[in-house]
Symmetry: C2
């Protein structure tokens, strides 16, 4: 089988290294901008190095591998490749999240395969695990740690007591965060993966923009001190859950307190974890490296081999995918509220009054020995409450004049 | 596709419940001894209930599902079914471990599929994950917690401070241990699964009898006290590792100390975990329920659906499987030694002398406040040593006259 490779960055190079040694696979083209800079001596001389997508497609490779990333021009290239008769393997999460429905339908119409294991959780075979290994179950929930950058930052804050800025700087130094980390920190990267998982596991088509994201940027080292007192730690959690009777999907990406004994709390550094919940099989976990050249290349090459060997056909029989009637990010949960205030008498009374007005019960009030009266952190934990009620209380509380920093609210996940 | 079901116990019933609702699948036969007792009203009247395997095979089902367990007569039924043109789905770990090579070759020769996801780690799609999802990697090691009964007992000893007998009794009461728990406690169940994983992940054919098993029966509540002091807990660990250059396989099932931060230490109650290590992708974990009707049925039905939808073809292209030149259970590791002695002066000197004679360094000597001088437990930890040297020292130590219980040695896994 002839394979053309679009993109020769870290992942593309790792893919080429593994493909080179696979019997029955011939790498024919490497496509990249400024390809002359990219040429390496460890690929056979027969490989064509090119900046022309037309040249690649004219050669009609059996499989086109796309590891350029970004929605365009990758999306156009993939559509042209499918139309030219190629099977496609991609690691492109944003493209799959936004245009996966249309692209997969197009591939099915043309009798081509579009494989995307590498688009979610890198080297962890969770797409195949769900689609084939759990096809006998009815899945109702997928949750996990889908962004290695956030997890690196949060676990370094947890274990080394770093502040957010220091942990981010360290992640950048070690290559775990990009120059512009917005997509990672603010949840857009994890959200794309969550939407892909919702499609595969729950057969529901979610528009990424309809899924709520909250940033991890407001988390401070103080939050880890209080989380620890509560038997918890803090993670960027992605979750999508289907209430089939109401055709309601609850989905979010947000920082949350997770109990120490939760599998989510055990995910360290830049690792990923996906946990599926099925009616018959219960919780099944898939963990490992969610990014990096080697792991991502394993997922790409495994897709290439499955197509080359004809073992990637089960998806065609899968149930149709539909948009749910409603998508929400609201679910009742106990909550963690952290305030940083200019201390003065009456603050707790003011907060408690607003919470009581919404029928929200306070569980505990926590305050570490005071340091700076002008920037005094303390924490209020709430019994399970409706986030809509909490939002109303917090809107009023946030307008009070004693805040040094904006209040931070996070659910406590069980 | 017509499906015949052999075995209508807990797993068989769970399989039937799920298959009943699958479009395109028709359950035609339920085969069981004393089948009249087994008949249920929630399956269609068209299902034939039978005690005759000939009747089942004469109907030429497209897929035969075998969930009887045990090597015979299940093996004979499967061979006949393959010869009769059926694809086969089985949950039979002992059969696959002992006769998997021959059966899979026979299936390939006949152009039939023999799927066995349910034979390892129940509902966790680890066979498919390795064979297809990680086919682009070169795996060098598989380790894990493969027996839910042992893990239930050990985690209950850990968390509730139970003695071994009390934990076993509780496991029996709750249905996590059989009346005769030998296969579970002494490692034969985990060993069968480990051999199946070695075949799939490392492409090495291990005869189960060639893999060393050690029982968890000598573990006492005292061992958990000392393990905790060492930042560890105790698990029944299964591991197989390939040294490709020497064609040497290191494989074992044994109780071991595992460090608290290890993923193995986090596996609770009757859960399972499989961790694969690949050259390119690093460690990938698969966790969930390794037994029970629902999870096992998910694996069986997922195999049925993959065959029915033609998505189970990748295995045919896999590399050939060979027996390794050598199988060993010996690898250098730090060790935990626990003694229970009739206390008297000179015991430590005697132990230390024998260890020194084998060039083994003592790391620490631990002793909880003494209780009973006639049955005094204490622990010696050793720096990394060769288990052959340690075996020589322990042979001599075991012959000394101060032992109340036989000495216990466990490696400390990193």
């Amino acid at each position: 089988v002839n394979v053309a490779l679009l993109g020769f960055g870290t992942v593309g190079q790792a893919v080429a290294r593994i493909l080179r040694d696979q019997p029955g696979i011939t790498l024919t083209h490497v496509f990249n901008r400024h390809v002359a800079r990219k040429r390496v001596d460890w690929l056979p001389a027969s490989v064509a190095w090119t900046e022309s997508i037309d040249e690649v497609l004219a050669a009609r490779p059996g499989i086109l591998v796309e590891v350029i990333g970004g929605r365009e021009p990758a999306g156009t290239y993939i559509r042209h490749a499918l139309a030219a008769g190629c099977h496609v393997v991609t690691a492109n999460k944003q493209l799959l999240a936004y245009e996966g429905g249309a692209l997969l339908n197009e591939a099915a119409r043309l009798g081509r395969r579009l494989a995307f294991e590498a688009s979610v959780a890198g080297g962890i075979p969770v797409i195949r695990g769900i689609r084939e290994g759990l096809s006998g179950d009815q899945l109702v929930r997928v949750s996990g740690i889908l962004n290695g950058t956030c997890n690196y930052i949060l676990t370094r804050m947890e274990s080394a007591g770093l502040g957010f800025a220091a942990a981010l700087a360290e992640a950048r130094e070690r290559g775990f965060a990009e120059a512009d980390p917005t997509d990672d920190l603010d949840g857009y990267d994890a959200r794309a993966k969550l939407c892909i998982l919702a499609r595969v596991a729950l057969r529901r088509d979610l528009h990424p923009d309809a899924v709520s994201c909250r940033s991890i940027r407001p988390i401070t080292d103080v939050d880890f001190v209080y989380a620890k007192r509560l038997g918890c730690t803090i993670r960027q959690v992605s979750r999508v859950e289907l209430d089939e009777a109401r055709d309601l999907v609850t989905a979010f990406v947000q920082p949350a307190l997770v109990r120490d004994e939760s599998p989510l709390a055990r995910v360290q550094r830049n690792q990923n974890l996906v946990v599926t919940t099925g009616r018959a099989g219960g919780d099944t976990g898939f963990s490992g490296f969610g990014a990096g050249g080697g792991p991502t290349a394993v997922a790409v090459v495994s897709d290439v081999l499955a197509i080359a060997h004809g073992g990637h056909g089960a998806a065609s029989a899968a149930a149709p995918v539909a948009a749910p009637s409603r998508v929400t990010d609201r679910f009742p949960a106990p909550y963690y509220l952290r305030f940083v205030v200019h201390d003065r008498p009456g603050i707790v009374a003011a907060l408690a009054t607003e919470l009581a007005a919404q029928n929200i019960n306070i569980d505990a009030l926590l305050q570490e020995p005071a340091r700076d009266k002008d920037a005094l952190p303390f924490v209020v934990t709430l019994e399970e409450c409706d986030p809509e009620d909490l939002g109303r209380a917090l809107d009023r509380i946030a307008r009070m004049d004693f805040h040094k920093d904006p209040p931070l609210a996070m659910p406590v996940l069980g």
